[in-house]
């Protein structure tokens, strides 16, 4: 799994951090997403998929 985030689309709702705090964080200046782990281990995949599903701004994509 490869994770991509689009900072311009991000609205800083923090949904992804709630789903997968090991993979996503938020930038101190403005709350925009920070990708901590672009290739997360398999045990995190379900949480990352939930983060994609609940992201209100469609700012997270997987490959």
């Amino acid at each position: 799994m490869k994770v991509f985030v689009d900072e311009d689309k991000c609205c800083g709702a923090g949904s992804c951090v709630l789903s997968a705090p090991e993979v996503f964080d938020q930038r101190d200046d403005d709350g925009v997403v920070v990708l901590l782990d672009a290739e997360p281990a398999e045990h995190l995949h379900a949480a990352v998929r939930e983060a994609v599903q609940v992201c209100p701004a469609a700012a997270i994509t997987l490959a």
């Binding site: 609205c11 800083g12 609940v54 209100p56 701004a57």
Partner: protein, 407 residues
């Protein structure tokens, strides 16, 4: 489809009025007429208070698609924006704007509501909840849970965050109530909005002179840097103060009423030590009760299609999240309250770039309330007939006006 009929088969004279009344005796469920619309059509016309007939989007998946569509605008000053009511003034800051200005302003207050910043507030919120329970238990029994607990807790939290004096709570709670009551006249709503703006404007001015460690002082820094006007900062402060206390207060009281009617779910929550169950209960309560019942409002900027239905540029869109959260396509057996279900994909906070910025704080407050109140007050009970509980059928934010409880 003929040009005079909408997809649900209504001729122009038959277009149903929105919002619709809930069924007698079913205060926790969406209006039956709205559920019928959902079964009949994915997109259908409704008639608003001003006689306009925007499109209403009934399904969870289509609502999410509309709310993330960049051709759809949240600009409340657009001439055909489907307004909730007349009056109120202003745009309620970035809620009523489109990107890029929306994103620019929203990101100025974003850091205060980041998940990790909100998590740092946990001890403070826990102390506020514990103190409120102590005060309630030391006071008269029975009492009104709204006044004794549900309203003070989030009001105290948002006052701390903004450094608004809690002693002024009667003033800002009363004016907020007027602003979000459907039966307020346009004049009443506009003056309540002006009073709150005047009050918070004065507070912003004081923070400009004497900054502290609070959100309004950080907006003061943005004003000094030339990134924000005093008026913009004031509008943001009004938005944060109202959104910060009214919504969570209503969730606390309404979900307690719902749990008292569902003793098996209440017992499960009370008897569990698992913080994951409390967090899951928060999501299910948000899904089930979804207190912003007026429908998100948008206007199409271009011709587009919603679930195959052509929507013309300039036409309004109403997106009621309460019905999406009971959509069987998104939630199996949607009317069953089940605090163990996976409900994170609910749209109680809206969807798209306008999704509630304060949601991490709302979740934290609800989680702490759910883990504290029912354990500290294990024999909490309704102190009136359920039929006599006054529900806020006239509010833009749903809830109960009072909830008499005993223990």
């Amino acid at each position: 489809m003929t040009s005079t009929m909408d997809p649900a088969g209504h001729s122009p004279a038959e277009v149903p009025e929105y919002p619709m009344p809930r069924a007698e005796g079913c205060p926790f469920d969406p209006p039956p007429a709205l559920r019928e619309l959902q079964e009949q059509a994915r997109v259908t016309r409704v008639k608003l208070w001003d006689g306009t007939t925007p499109w209403l989007v009934t399904r969870h998946a289509d609502q999410r698609a509309v709310l993330t569509d960049r051709r759809v605008s949240a600009d409340m000053t657009h001439p055909t924006y489907p307004r909730q009511a007349a009056g109120g003034g202003g745009t309620l800051s970035f809620i009523g704007m489109d990107d890029p200005e929306h994103a620019r302003l929203r990101r100025m207050v974003g850091p205060a509501f980041m998940v990790k910043r909100v998590e740092e507030m946990r001890p403070m919120v826990q102390a506020i909840v514990d103190d409120a329970i102590d005060a309630m238990l030391a006071g008269p029994n029975p009492t009104d849970l709204v006044e004794a607990f549900a309203l003070p807790v989030p009001s105290l939290v948002i006052c701390k965050l903004l450094d608004v004096p809690y002693g002024d709570h009667d003033f800002f709670q009363a004016n907020s109530r007027t602003m979000i009551n459907r039966n307020s006249t346009p004049d009443e709503r506009t003056s309540a909005s002006a009073r709150l703006a005047e009050y918070l404007g004065a507070l912003v001015a004081r923070k400009l002179e004497k900054p502290g460690d609070d959100l309004l002082s950080r907006l003061g820094e943005k004003i000094k840097a030339g990134d924000l006007t005093v008026r913009q900062a004031t509008e943001m402060a009004v938005l944060l103060l109202i959104a910060g206390h009214e919504t969570t207060a209503n969730m606390i009281a309404l979900s307690t009423a719902l749990l008292l009617r569902n003793p098996d779910q209440l017992a499960m929550l009370r008897e569990s030590d698992d913080p994951a169950l409390a967090r899951s209960a928060v999501e299910e309560m948000l899904r089930y009760l979804n207190i912003t019942h007026g429908g998100r409002r948008r206007v199409a900027l271009e011709d587009l299609e919603v679930a195959g239905c052509p929507v013309k540029a300039g036409e309004g869109l109403v997106i009621p999240n309460d019905i999406a959260n009971r959509d069987p396509e998104a939630f199996p057996d949607p009317d069953r309250l089940d605090i163990t279900r996976s409900a994170r994909h609910h749209v109680a906070f809206g969807f798209g770039v306008h999704q509630c910025l304060g949601q991490p704080l709302a979740r934290l407050e609800l989680e702490i309330v759910y883990r504290s109140l029912y354990r500290r007050v294990p024999n909490l009970a309704l102190a009136t007939d359920f039929e006599k509980v006054p529900f806020k059928h006239d509010g833009f934010v749903y809830g109960v006006y009072e909830l008499p409880v005993s223990w």
